[in-house]
């Protein structure tokens, strides 16, 4: 064995870390300052919806992005959270600011729904899983239509909020921003933890992971539950913001597809990808809806076109693709993948491995 053992670098160097930290602080500052700078309700409305979708897309990503199980049933949680808040506020006569105290209850309902939903759906994989999540979604929409306590097809009204119209959106913006920040923080914690590693191992090869001691069902269900809880809470925020929920808006198939589109556009599986996707897609959708030329279903058709373009030309999303480009530029002239190891007793230095010494660390840099 040679004396100098090359141990791989454990962490990115300090310069990169502080740069990232600085960028993060700047983003937080911008997000906090946004409604103070642009206080026009028409603009802050964009901000509220963008934050709602950042939260929902991040929640989707915590489960689907990490495990590779594409859920098209997130609206089950979104709608259930909205309905929970509406029903609880109506039946217990809660009004005004204190309605927000119901948010933990909405999250709890999401978690309770996630358990049977997950236990059934997570038994199957890939396409079958997707179909089952869609089936659950329709079951919930039908229940919302047909039960009496959900208000049937006319849905529910939220309690009246006695806030001035000019600044009405701003508290909602900060609440949604807090949820978005919380969801991103949870996604980040999960990503760097052993829990996240287990999820990603399941994504790559579930059976192999089980053979290495990963208790797959428990791990998948936990991620599904976390995702459902966050989605239910942000669904309740959305409900209180727009003041009403009907079966077809609370349990909306477009909602599910939008989340997937956001994640695919930004970069499926990364933390920043779905956030970026939500920040692009949601304001774009809102803006298109205000344009007479795109009224009605034209904006939805356009979203479908975007989806096709993304899948065809950016199949891995903006963030991973640009990450690859950056790595390519930084390691230009050097092989992207480390040359093969010499196997067996160290032979006299004839192979390419000894000639290209400095290249062996490069490919890890872009991550």
């Amino acid at each position: 064995m040679s004396k100098e053992r090359r141990r791989p670098r454990a962490m990115p160097d300090r310069g990169t870390t502080s740069l990232k930290f600085g960028a993060l602080l700047a983003l937080i500052a911008i997000a906090i300052a946004f409604p103070q700078v642009y206080s026009n309700p028409a603009v802050t409305n964009y901000g509220v919806f963008a934050m709602i979708y950042v939260t929902a897309a991040t929640a989707w990503n915590i489960f689907s992005g990490n495990t590779g199980y594409i859920s098209l049933g997130q609206a089950v949680f979104y709608g259930s959270g909205a309905y929970t808040m509406g029903i609880a506020a109506r039946d217990w006569n809660i009004t005004g600011d204190s309605v927000f105290l119901l948010l933990p209850l909405c999250g709890l309902v999401g978690a309770v729904i996630a358990v049977p939903f997950g236990l059934v759906a997570l038994r199957v994989r890939r396409h079958t899983f997707i179909v089952i999540t869609i089936a659950f979604f329709f079951i919930f929409q039908l229940m919302a239509f047909n039960f009496s306590f959900t208000g049937g097809s006319s849905g529910l009204q939220s309690p009246f909020l006695n806030w001035p119209t000019a600044t009405y959106n701003i508290p909602f913006y900060y609440i949604a921003l807090a949820f978005a920040a919380g969801a991103i923080a949870i996604a980040w914690l999960i990503r760097r933890s052993r829990f996240g590693l287990q999820l990603r191992a399941i994504r790559d090869d579930e059976d192999r992971a089980r053979g290495l001691g990963v208790r797959a069902m428990r791990v998948k269900l936990s991620a599904f539950l976390i995702s459902g809880t966050i989605t239910a809470m942000i669904g309740a925020v959305w409900f209180y913001y727009i003041n009403q929920v009907e079966p077809q808006s609370g349990f909306d198939p477009i909602f599910d597809l939008t989340l997937v589109l956001m994640a695919f556009l930004g970069g499926y599986g990364s933390i920043s990808g779905p956030v970026l996707g939500a920040l692009i897609i949601e304001p774009l959708t809102l803006w298109l809806n205000t344009q007479p030329a795109f009224s009605g279903y034209l904006s939805e058709i356009l979203l479908g076109v975007i989806f096709l373009v993304v899948v065809m030309f950016l199949p891995r999303g903006i963030v991973p693709t640009s990450g690859e480009l950056i790595t390519k530029v930084r390691t230009r002239g050097r092989p992207a993948v480390i040359p093969a190891t010499r196997i067996g007793p160290p032979a006299p230095a004839t192979g390419p491995a000894s000639a290209s010494g400095p290249s062996s660390v490069s490919s890890g840099g872009g991550r």
Binding site: R5, R6, R7, P8, R9, A10, L189, I190, R192, S193, R194, F195, L197, Q198, R200, A201, R203, D204, D205, D207, R208, A209, R210, G211, L212, G213, V214, R215, A216, V337, I338, A340, T341, I343, G344, S360, V361, S363, G364, R367
Partner: protein, 256 residues
């Protein structure tokens, strides 16, 4: 010497195909045992049944004096049986080191919910993982995505991450399949070394007769889901039924 791993009359049918038909094998502690047989003789099915990926229709699997029949794969692994797959199965989008850490997490289960999110407990696993990567000879690739490894390197990675949890028995499904002779020697050395220094027991399936005959102290021949012969290489290679069923011309040409 005690029997560490034993199967008893295992039966498994897929539709009309009887993949296992009373397979009974015994692996002594501290040995390197081989399992050979023609294609479709049930070798991989036997591995799948032992490691919990398939449920047998009948029969028992014993690990020491513990019945492990029908345990889930993660439980079998936790009990101390590691395995590799015929077509190597690694986590392509995790780095080599992360691949190793997936296996490490089974070793010490998190005590509470919060420690699931912790990362400090991993530091000593990292060291262990890097040592094992060095042992198999791919430590320089620790930070590379496992999907970019060559086939031979994947075989080595798979061996390394099975070793993380320090299993008592390792089942190797065609460890020498599709790799070059130098690498076969390297793998042979590693198996011998583990067997000699740590007393790890091996059971391996392999078509490369030279490899099997050179490495294994006991060989079991499987045919149509049933064990035909079992014994030291010399006995097995001269057994008439084995020659007829499987080895035949191959071995008569072999001067050894």
């Amino acid at each position: 010497m005690t029997t560490l791993l034993r199967t008893d009359g295992l039966m498994k049918a897929y539709g009309g195909v009887q993949a296992l038909n009373g397979a009974t094998i015994a692996v002594e502690e501290g040995t390197v045992a081989g399992l050979i047989g023609p294609n479709g003789s049930g070798k991989t099915t036997l591995f799948n049944v032992i490691t919990g990926y398939e449920r047998p229709d009948a029969g028992q699997v014993w690990f020491g004096d513990r019945a492990i029949t029908n345990l889930a794969p993660d439980k079998v692994f936790a009990a101390g049986i590691g395995r590799t797959f015929q077509l190597t199965r690694i986590f392509a989008r995790l780095t080599v080191l992360e691949n190793m850490l997936v296996a490490a997490q089974a070793k010490d289960r998190p005590r509470n919910l919060l420690s699931w999110f912790g990362r400090d407990a991993w530091t000593h696993h990292r060291r262990h993982a890097l040592d094992l990567l060095e042992f198999v000879g791919i430590e320089r690739h620790a930070e590379v995505l496992a999907g970019s490894l060559s086939y031979g390197q994947r075989k080595l990675l798979e061996l390394a991450y099975v070793l993380v949890a320090d299993p008592a028995v390792i089942l190797l499904d065609e460890p020498a399949g599709g790799v070059n002779p130098t690498l076969i020697n390297h793998i042979t050395d590693r198996i011998r070394q583990l067997n000699a220094t740590k007393g790890t027991t091996f059971l391996l399936v392999e078509h490369n007769m030279e490899f099997v005959m050179g490495l294994c102290s006991t060989i079991t021949v499987l045919e149509s889901g049933k064990d035909v012969v079992s014994g030291p290489p010399d006995i097995v290679r001269t057994d008439k039924r084995v020659l007829d069923a499987y080895l035949g011309a191959d071995l008569e040409e072999d001067p050894r």
